[in-house]
Subunit: 417 residues, 2 copies
C-alpha cells in the first residue's frame, strides 16, 4: 500500500494558453498508478518564478513530494530550478559531470557553449542529479529540510519519459517503500459490445478485489484489463493467469490479442502462421487500412500491397471490377466489394484480400444509400468469401477510421477461426 | 486588457490515474486566450468533496473566478456541486426549468426518473443556470459573497464546448469588461526552417506589439500566427492585413495556406485550379499519403487513387517498374521512385503523380542505405519530373509520417509555382 502521495506540476505558459496539450502529466500519473503511488492532484502554472515556487510550496503542504516537468531549458523563460530553490530555500551548486558532458557535446557539434548552457549544469544544493541521455538539461531530485522532495524533469517527452521510468519511479518506490506494484494484463477484444462482455464476465468482476477487472470501451473495440497488486512479477502472474484463462474462454472468438498487440499485428501473426500474403482494395477508407497494416514492423513479409481505388475508373482498370456491376448495383454494393476483393487478390498475387467501399460523406449520399453506408468484403485462396454491410455514424474521418477497425476485425476473425 | 484572471479546475479521479487525457482544459484555455482573459493556473483533482472544495478556495484566493469541468453527473461520485456549495458556503435550490426538461426527456424515453436525476436539477442558491442541450446536467455560475464566481460545466466535451462558447465566454467578457478579443490569422508554411523564417521576418516581431507575431514549429512545417487584440473583427482585420501581406511576400513560395487549410487541402485547391487529377504510388509510406489526401472532403474530384506497392512484385506488376532498375539501383533509389511515379500516372489516368520509396525500419537497412533513407518523385502531364533524396530520423511511424508531409510539400510547391 502507498505510504505517501505526490502532486504533479507542469510548467509552461503555453499550457495556460491552450497552445499545447499536456501529455506528460497523464503519462506520469499512469506510471505512478502502476507502482501503487497516489497522485493527490495535478496542476499547470506559467513560466513565472513566484507562481512556480508557490505551486510547489502548496503541493508540499499536502503531499510527500512534487514532480515538475518543464522549465529546465537554457532560456530566460526557464525558471523551474530557481523556483525550486526558492520554495525549498536552497542555493545552487555546479554539477561537474553534467558540465563535462555538455562541453563534450558542444565540442562535437563545433558550436560555442554559452553561459546560459553552463547554467543548466547547476543544480539545487544537495540534490540528486537525474541524467538525461536525450538532451542537455539534467533533471534532479531536490530535498526539503522537513523531508519533502521535488523531482524536476525536462518537459520534452522524449527526454522526460526514460528519466521517469528508469530513475524517478525506482526512487519513489524505494522512498515510499511500497514494495508492491500493480501488474496489468490487457486482453483486446473486437466484434463484441461492452454490455455483452459485462453479461459474460460480470460475475468475475464482483468476486475479485485483487486482481481487479475493468472494461475499457474504444470505438468498436473493448479492452479487458486485469490488474494485480503484488510484490513480484511471479506472484502477480500466478494471480492473473486463472482469471485470464476464464475470461478468454468466456470471450472465445473475440479476444484478438494481449497487451501491446493491435488488430493489425494480430492479423499479421495469423497470416504468418499460414504463410499467406494479404492484398487490400480500398475505396472510402482511402489508404487507412494499408497504413494500419504497414504500421507493424516486418509487415512486408505478409502484406503485398494495396490499391486505393478512389475513382471508379481505377476499380475497373486496376481491379477488374465490371463496369456493369457498378452501373447495376452502384459502387457501394456487395457485388462491387466482392469484385474488388477478388480483383486485388489476383492482381497483387495474394492468398487473401480485403476490400472496402462506402460513403464517407459529407457528400455522395443517394436515395437508399446514406452517408456512412459501407460494404466490406474478403476472399481467400480456399475460395471462401464473405461481405458485410454496415451503417456507420460520425464525421468523414470517423467513418473511415471505424470502417478500418471493422475490416481488420473481420479479417482477423476469418483467419483465426 | 484583461481586468481579472481565472483558474481552471478539472474534476475526476481518472485524470489522476492517467486513464484519461484532459482535453477540456486546453480547449477552455484557448477560448479564453482568444477573448483576452488570463488563465492564472490549471489543476486536476479527484472525485473527493473536500479536495474539490479546497482547490476552489485556493484558486479563488488568487483569481477572480474559477471554471470547473466534470463531476456534475447523477452518481455518488459526482460531487462538484456539493463542493462548490461548501467552498462558497451556499445551500442548493431547485431549478424548475431544468427539472421540467428532465421530466420531459425521461417521459419521451419511457424511462422512470430516479431521485439522483432530480438532484441534477438542484443548483447552488442564487446561481445562474447554464442550459445543456446535449445532456441532462445543467451547468451553473455560482457567486461568492466577496464577488468571486465559480463556473461549473459537465466534463463530457460534447456538452461542455457549446456551453463554454455560447454562455460562459459571453459572461466572462461582460464580467471582465474586456470588450476586446484576440483575433488570429495563421499562415501555414512548408519547406522552410524556423531559423530561416526568423531571419526573414524577425524584424516584424520586434516592432509589433499589437498585432503580435509568433512562430510555431511542427514536424517539417511551421505556422506563423498573427494575433490582434481588437474590439471588432473589422478593426482586427485592418490591423492584421498589412502584416500578413508583408509576411506572405517575404515567405513567398513557402506559405501554402491560411487558418484551417492543410497541406492536403492546399494540394487539392491547386489541382482543381488546373483541372488536374492526381495519382499516388507509395512504398514505405504505406497508404499514409492516400489517407491524408482522401481526408479532404470532395477529394474524389481531383484524386483518382493510389497503389501501395509494398512488395517489389507490385511495383513491377502494377506500376511497370523495370525489374532491372530494382536489381541495378535497389528499390529505394531515384530511378525506381521516378518509374513508380510514371507508372502510377499512366495506370490510373492522372495528370500528375507522386511516388515514395524508402526504408521505415527497424529492419531493411543495407550498406549505404540506412533506415530513414527516402526518395520522393513526381512527374506531371507537361513532362516535368523531379526526385529528391531525404534522410529522415525517428521511429518507423515517425519516418513514414515525416515522408508524407515532405511529399505533400513537394507536390504543393510544384503545383503552385
Amino acid at each position: 500500500m502507498p505510504t505517501g502521495s505526490v502532486e504533479i506540476v507542469a510548467v509552461g505558459t503555453e499550457l495556460l494558453l491552450g497552445q499545447l496539450v499536456d501529455t506528460n502529466t497523464p503519462f506520469i500519473a499512469q506510471r505512478l498508478a502502476e507502482s501503487g503511488i497516489d497522485v493527490y492532484a495535478t496542476r499547470a502554472v506559467g513560466d513565472n518564478r513566484e507562481r512556480i515556487a508557490a505551486a510547489i510550496r502548496e503541493a508540499l503542504a499536502r503531499a510527500a513530494g512534487v514532480i515538475t516537468t518543464g522549465g529546465l531549458g537554457p532560456t530566460v523563460d526557464d525558471l523551474t530550478k530557481e523556483a525550486v530553490c526558492d520554495a525549498l530555500d536552497l542555493d545552487t551548486q555546479l554539477y561537474a559531470p553534467a558540465l563535462e558532458r555538455m562541453e563534450a557535446m558542444f565540442a562535437a557539434l563545433r558550436r560555442p557553449m554559452r553561459p546560459n548552457n553552463r547554467k543548466q549544469a547547476e543544480l539545487p544544493r544537495g540534490s540528486r542529479p537525474l541524467s538525461n541521455p536525450n538532451g542537455t538539461a539534467p533533471g534532479f531530485i531536490a530535498f526539503a529540510r522537513d523531508g519533502g522532495f521535488v523531482v524536476s524533469m525536462p518537459g520534452v517527452p522524449r527526454e522526460m519519459k526514460p528519466m521517469l521510468v528508469e530513475q524517478v519511479v525506482p526512487f519513489l518506490r524505494e522512498r515510499f517503500g511500497t514494495g508492491e506494484a500493480i501488474y496489468t494484463r490487457v486482453l483486446h477484444t473486437i466484434g463484441i459490445g461492452e454490455s455483452e462482455i459485462d453479461h459474460r464476465i460480470g460475475d468475475l468482476f464482483a468476486c475479485s478485489e485483487n486482481p481487479k477487472i475493468a472494461v475499457l470501451a474504444h470505438d468498436f473495440r473493448a479492452d479487458v484489463k486485469i490488474m494485480a497488486k503484488s510484490s513480484s512479477a511471479e506472484s502477480a502472474e500466478a494471480a492473473i493467469a486463472p482469471l485470464q484463462q476464464a475470461i478468454e474462454e468466456r470471450l472465445a472468438g473475440y479476444v484478438f490479442g494481449r497487451d501491446a498487440e493491435t488488430p493489425a499485428s494480430a492479423v499479421h501473426s495469423q497470416l504468418q502462421a499460414r504463410g499467406w500474403r494479404l492484398a487490400v482494395a480500398e475505396s472510402f477508407t482511402g489508404g487507412r487500412l494499408a497504413a494500419a497494416l504497414t504500421g507493424v514492423a516486418g509487415s512486408s513479409q505478409s502484406f503485398t500491397g494495396a490499391v486505393v481505388a478512389y475513382d471508379d475508373s481505377v476499380k475497373i482498370g486496376q481491379l477488374g471490377v465490371n463496369a456493369g456491376s457498378i452501373g447495376d448495383f452502384g459502387a457501394v454494393s456487395e457485388e462491387v466489394a466482392l469484385e474488388m476483393a477478388r480483383g486485388v487478390r489476383d492482381a497483387l498475387g495474394a492468398q487473401i484480400a480485403l476490400a472496402t467501399t462506402g460513403i464517407a460523406g459529407p457528400g455522395g449520399a443517394t436515395p437508399g444509400k446514406p452517408v456512412g453506408l459501407a460494404w466490406i468484403a474478403l476472399v481467400d485462396a480456399l475460395g471462401r468469401q464473405r461481405a458485410s454491410r454496415f451503417e456507420l455514424s460520425g464525421e468523414r474521418e470517423t467513418i473511415a477510421r471505424r470502417a478500418t477497425t471493422i475490416a481488420l476485425g473481420m479479417l482477423w476473425r476469418h483467419l483465426a477461426h
